[in-house]
């Protein structure tokens, strides 16, 4: 028994190996989350916060009709964004994997997809405003082309512009995981399907989509959590006319209603957790990733 050899070193080794990450997660995620949960049971009158333990905040949040409409609105944003990013992400990945056979071109075009990420979210978001505004590029273009006579108001400071921004910001989070799982599909499988007489559509439906579902699931988790947790895009792009769960929380925080905001935050975390676990229930990501 030589102590220096690996196998028998110590049963503590695996714990030591995860310790750094565990410490960071506890400090940066665990403690703040616990604080939020704790705070959600306290009371506030807008001036002071009282450490009592009651469920009044939850009762208020759950019985308020505003909460329901906020959650519905946020879910609507999330689901529309999800559909568009999934379609765009799937199409782009399909093109990159199955049409651009050359690896060099694949990498080049993939990098092209990431170019928007070279600048900040805020710049990318705000740069839509001069394009979509009443006097903006797009409206001017349409008027000059004689397609419309009045500028379209729906383009900016509307749900449309919010969703457009979400799609723009988050499509890459869909492309990357889908591309990754599609790239793992053995091209022979597609030939085997073709050999069995499958049409291109049948190959897509029976082979490519089922084998890309891990990527779709991961992308879904990214996009849903990002949209559900956003308040900035909705505030800027709706011009304050639309609200999401988080932007409502922000309002309460601005008025120093921390406990009420915390209760809302806990609810949001629960909703997102349910959605993520639903996705994980449909797709066994762990086993698929190990494949």
């Amino acid at each position: 028994m030589s102590g220096s050899s690996s196998g028998s070193s110590s049963s503590a080794t695996p714990y030591l190996q995860v310790a750094p990450l565990a410490l960071i997660m506890i400090a940066m995620v665990g403690i703040p989350l616990a604080t939020v949960v704790l705070l959600s049971f306290w009371e506030s009158d807008g001036i002071l916060i009282y450490p009592t333990y009651n469920l009044q905040n939850y009762i208020d949040v759950l019985t308020s009709p505003v909460t329901l409409s906020l959650f519905l609105k946020t879910l609507k944003f999330a689901s529309i964004t999800l559909i568009f990013t999934a379609v765009i992400g799937f199409t782009c990945s399909y093109f990159l994997v199955f049409h651009v056979r050359n690896l060099r071109w694949q990498i080049a075009l993939f990098l092209l997809c990431t170019i928007p990420f070279w600048t900040s979210n805020i710049i990318r978001m705000v740069s839509w405003i001069p394009f979509l505004g009443r006097e903006g590029l797009f409206n001017t273009l349409l008027i000059e082309a004689g397609i419309i006579s009045q500028p379209l108001d729906v383009l900016l400071f509307s749900d449309f512009s919010v969703i457009l921004t979400y799609i723009h910001l988050y499509t890459l989070f869909m492309i990357v995981p889908i591309f990754n799982s599609m790239a793992k599909i053995n091209p022979n499988l597609i030939e085997a399907a073709r050999d069995a007489g499958a049409s291109s559509f049948q190959i897509l439906r029976y082979i490519i989509i089922p084998l890309s579902k891990t990527g779709l699931a991961l992308g879904t988790i990214f996009v849903v959590t990002l949209v559900m947790g956003d308040f900035f895009a909705v505030r800027v792009m709706s011009g304050g006319q639309s609200a999401s769960v988080v932007s409502a929380m922000k309002n309460e925080i601005d008025q120093l209603y921390y406990p009420q905001a915390s209760a809302m935050a806990v609810l949001l975390v629960i909703v997102v957790l349910i959605m993520v676990s639903a996705v994980l229930r449909i797709v066994d990501i762990r086993s698929e990733l190990a494949r």
Partner: protein, 371 residues
Amino acid sequence: MSDQSRIDIQNVTKTFGGINAVSEVDLSIEGGAYCCMIGPSGCGKTTLLRMIAGHETPTSGTISIGGQDVTSLKTGSRGTALMFQNYALFPHLTITDNVAFSLKVRGQSADARREAAREMLDRVQLLHLANRVPSELSGGQQQRVALARALITNPKVLLLDEPLSALDEFLRLRMRVELKRLQSDLGITFVHVTHTQPEAIALADQVVVMDHGVIEQAASPREIYNKPHSPYVARFMGGQNVLGGTVERVSDNTAIALSPDGTRYDLPDANDVKPGDKVRFSVRRDRISLADKAQDASNSAFGQVTNIEYQGTFVKVSLDTGQREEFIAYVDDEEYFAAPKEVGQKVYATWKPHLNHLLRGTNDSAGMPHE
């Protein structure tokens, strides 16, 4: 069945980026035959197979199956089924659904196609695993699933791309027997691409030896083995010594060739050569006897023993005869142990003159014989 599954390949060329992978190939495969295509990697055998399957379109030329021109017909509708080298089973489907896949895309109901798939799985003795996914199966089992999947559409032609190369030696021999049995049961044409000579010899009714995109020789295994067309075929198929010389004279259908070291060889059936021609000829390694003294100056080789390997039923003796290629004799073990040799010893290898076989083909490349 046999006429329906006949394959005719006429003047087929396939070019990839200016390079001919297959050049002007003509080949007919009888319906119901077991055809093995063999050659080193890059010789065009897989490309030819893929063109028959419809996964590649010939740059020029025509391919017919059962008399019908299928050159530009879609794969999946030309009566062929291809079994892939790494099987290409769908990892997300159970093996029943894998086998039933081609029925599914043809629109058969779930019950009917599963029933058919289970029958086919029973045929390859895998019914007890019907609900597993491919990754839970061993290599040999996966191969049988691939076979069942290919056969479920009742193809006229089954194309096999190196079907046995991923298996271990024991399974390979067993699957070889099964393939042959299946082929004679079904009576359809099998086209089997391989790079293993014993596999081709053991299975095929027709062996097609390819090199650099052309067919060197297409014939029965016995003919390929006994009467190779060119030095390349002789070396690649193995079991032959290739020798060379210059024709001195031709008389009575027999040419006398003089080798660089001064030995004379009688080449039978060689009235098509002229004195002064450089010729190559082969002689089977297992028809050679070794002697310590020269008996006859002609039809022999003289050299130093460089290696001796006992092979069970025979002994492989390698000689350095001063030529580029080593000369090998397979000596019957009883005969050998009656007069054993030693490494370094000088011996005479002799054989009967009628065993010399003139190689008319010009392809003189080395081949890579598997011993």
